[in-house]
């Protein structure tokens, strides 16, 4: 029989092991937001704890400190992770974007230098891609990295770099050939952010916290052996990274299943006060979270069987980002006037915390359709590369 939707004994054993470890190790009190200095360090500490249990990079090969789990096992790990309400991963971009890129394109020396410190949380990585004039049109980027002896000299301006305020390293695209245009002449560099000539300035987000940053480069010197892949190969490496990001691993379905579960629980508490439109939204959100999870299992099975993921990754990105928004909108509709409260003297703190959590989540969910490639661009990709329509 094909389509076997039962876990094997080994998969169930993995689930139990993960569940047991998380029950013993997840902080009982939620960590402060990683968009604050104290919160960032608390989350860095959590990465170290995860790594000590060898749970920080479960899909990485064992030689790099991972467990070599396949994608189905990764999904199980993630399900348990979100079930336990474990802290968000401050090194998300390092673990899921830079790590796999380095494993594919890095030299043995680079892997040895970067991967263990990434895994342990000693180095937190930020993605350094966008520029003021190069957002959706990334190939318009102008920040240069000019070879000078055994160094690159960086000049220019990067922006919207998530968690770069407190991060140690950045990975990104730079123009190593100043005469080049568009996708040519770009190179992929690992940049230590505490380098003379590099100035990082936090940008306050919608929630007031400095979750992203702009980075100014003024004759900043970076060792040439931080070049990942060959000079000029940057665009194709970056596109591989974008594939990881939009593909499967940026947002595991468990995250949305957990939010959907919380939404249903919130709805049950307030069912008597809900209008039919809100009821319908809750049900639709729960179904969509299930759909996304099932789709991911199907893709994971296909990849394990030797398939690959291409432009259809754009379908995922649009779907989960719009689902996340819809779930938070529904929660705010249920909460009504309570939703705006940031703090409320005299009101039981649990109720306010929960309302704040939904509003914080809502603000963050508004970023979903924008980051990792705006959804307008994703819809273009779907139309052009999945459906075969011409470029406009």
């Amino acid at each position: 029989m094909a389509i076997d939707l039962k876990y094997t004994a080994r998969q169930q054993a993995l689930r139990s092991e993960v569940r047991g470890w998380l029950a013993a190790n997840v902080p009982t009190k939620p960590l402060p937001s990683f968009d604050t200095e104290a919160g960032f360090e608390a989350h860095r500490q959590w990465e170290a704890t995860l790594n000590a249990g060898r749970w920080s990079m479960v899909t990485w090969p064992t030689e790099y400190g991972g467990r070599g789990l396949d994608l189905i096992e990764w999904l199980i790990f993630e399900e348990e992770y979100y079930r336990a309400d474990a802290p968000f991963r401050v090194n998300q971009n390092g673990v899921f974007l830079f790590g796999p890129t380095l494993m594919e394109y890095g030299t043995p020396e680079q892997k040895a230098r970067f991967l263990p410190r990434l895994a342990s949380g000693e180095d937190i990585w930020a993605q350094v891609w966008s520029e003021p004039q190069a957002g959706s049109d990334l190939a318009a980027l102008r920040t240069t990295a000019i070879r000078d002896g055994d160094e690159y000299v960086l000049n220019g301006h990067k922006i919207w770099s998530t968690r770069a305020v407190y991060a140690d390293w950045g990975f990104g695209l730079f123009r190593t050939d100043p005469t080049s245009e568009r996708h040519r002449g770009l190179s992929y560099l690992a940049v230590p952010l505490r380098t003379p000539g590099i100035r990082v300035r936090g940008i306050a987000q919608l929630d007031g916290k400095s979750g992203f940053a702009e980075i100014f480069f003024e004759d900043a010197r970076v060792p040439a052996n931080n070049l990942i892949g060959a000079e000029g190969q940057g665009w194709s490496i970056a596109m591989a990274t974008a594939g990881f990001e939009r593909g499967l691993m940026l947002r595991s379905p468990a995250r949305f299943q957990r939010t959907a579960q919380r939404l249903v629980e919130l709805y049950r508490l307030h069912a008597a006060d809900c209008d039919p439109g809100t009821e319908a939204a809750v049900t639709q959100c729960w179904m969509d979270a299930e759909s996304y999870a099932l789709a991911t299992y199907m893709t994971a099975s296909r990849l394990i069987a030797g398939g690959s993921i291409g432009a259809e990754a754009s379908l995922n990105k649009v779907f989960w980002s719009e689902l996340d928004l819809a779930m938070h909108r529904a929660a705010l509709a249920i909460l009504g006037a309570r939703a705006e409260l940031r703090e409320a003297p005299g009101v039981e703190s649990g109720a306010v915390d929960d309302a704040c959590r939904w509003m914080d989540g809502f603000l963050f969910s508004l970023a979903g359709p924008i980051y990792a490639g705006a959804n307008e661009i994703q819809r273009n990709i779907i139309a052009e590369r999945v459906l075969g329509l011409p470029k406009g």
Binding site: L5, V264, Y297, V318, P390
Partner: protein, 360 residues
């Protein structure tokens, strides 16, 4: 855990696709739809009906202990999707996917149905079903036997020649509806009680999943038709497919379709409960959106009788109303969530309890 189809299952779907590409074209559908009477309708469909019989699908889902092929619903779901892709007029899904299994179940309880089962397995009789209380049946004129019940909780088989049937008209000219006016006093075989209730429940679950699969095929077909038209139609000196407004609408249809697909496939592995309802809703929404968008992309042509798109759209509209339509299915999911009857959360996706969920 392996959420992929086997090579053999894909090949079976491909051979059905190939057959229908040749014998179930838009022109074939039009000829059948415009047939003036039932005899000319049958004549228009005769070649295809013969080819379908040669595929050797008879008794696919009937247990091998009863002379069938003993395959499961997951073996049939891709075939149902192909039937949707082609807007197949013949009730392949309704007979092979739903009624025949029900007949086998009846035969296990009442041997008198064995003769009918024998004819089905030999490919000489067509059986359809209508749960008690449902009096309108598609393609009833083609059927030799009907499984239904005189009252709730009964499963019985009747010779269609002994039924009082009047024709009814569907928005989909290819569904050839009939309304059962009266059942004869005595069925050929019958079953009551819990066994009959469970048999009907299983049949409705299969019907939900395979209807969803047809809707998935219909959605994909209408998208393909809209894409083809958008690539051909020129305005302002270029094909309309180059316009972002057109591209994004079609991208949205693709998203809805591709996120309905895994739900339908997962439901086929264990038809029933909330997941079957979810499958029907998701595929129905995708097909509805595909129909509306494809018509819009076709412009005024989309509103004309001349374009074949209408056959796929009308099938989608007809199928989305089955089993109480979205309203009933949605309420089923909603009630299970509201009452806490459904274990939910990131670790419960494949929970057997959640798959079955609350029955109405």
């Amino acid at each position: 855990m392996d959420f992929t189809f086997e090579e053999e299952q894909r090949l079976a779907a491909q051979s059905l696709r190939a057959l229908l590409d040749d014998h179930c074209t838009g022109a074939d559908l039009r000829r059948a739809a415009e047939a003036l009477d039932f005899e000319s309708y049958r004549a228009a469909c005769a070649t295809r009906a013969g080819k379908l019989a040669e595929l050797g699908l008879a008794g696919m889902l009937i247990p091998d202990s009863q002379g069938g092929l003993g395959l499961g619903p997951a073996d049939f779901v891709l075939l149902a999707e192909e039937a949707g892709w082609a807007a197949l007029p013949e009730p392949l899904v309704e007979s092979e996917g739903v009624a025949n299994v029900l007949l086998a179940e009846l035969t296990r309880h009442d041997a008198a149905a064995g003769e009918v089962l024998g004819e089905v397995l030999a490919g000489s009789a067509l059986v359809l079903c209508a749960p008690p209380g449902v009096d309108v049946v598609s393609s009833i004129g083609l059927a030799d036997y009907l499984l239904t019940g005189a009252h709730d909780g009964e499963l019985a088989v009747y010779r269609t020649s002994e039924l009082a049937i009047e024709s009814a008209t569907s928005v989909d000219p290819l569904r050839r509806l009939g309304r059962i006016r009266q059942l004869p006093g005595r069925p050929l075989a019958s079953l009551g009680g819990e066994a009959a209730r469970l048999a009907w429940q299983a049949a409705e679950a299969r019907s939900a999943v395979f209807t969803a699969a047809q809707l998935l095929g219909l959605a994909a077909r209408m998208t393909a038709l809209a894409v083809a038209y958008a690539l051909e139609r020129k305005q302002f000196g270029r094909v309309i497919a180059a316009n972002q407004a057109v591209k994004h609408q079609l991208a949205d249809v693709q998203i809805r379709t591709e996120f309905a697909r895994p739900v339908v496939y997962a439901a086929s592995a264990a038809p029933g409960g909330v997941r079957a309802a979810h499958a029907l809703i998701a595929a129905g929404d995708a097909a509805q959106l595909a129909a509306q968008t494809a018509i819009q992309v076709h412009g005024a042509m989309g509103y004309s009788w001349e374009v074949d798109l209408q056959f796929y759209a009308k099938r989608a509209w007809a199928l989305t109303g089955l089993q109480g339509g979205r309203t009933v299915q949605f309420r089923r999911v909603h009630t299970a969530l509201r009452d806490g009857a459904l274990p939910i959360g990131p670790d419960r996706l494949f929970d057997q309890v959640s798959l079955q969920g609350a029955q109405p």
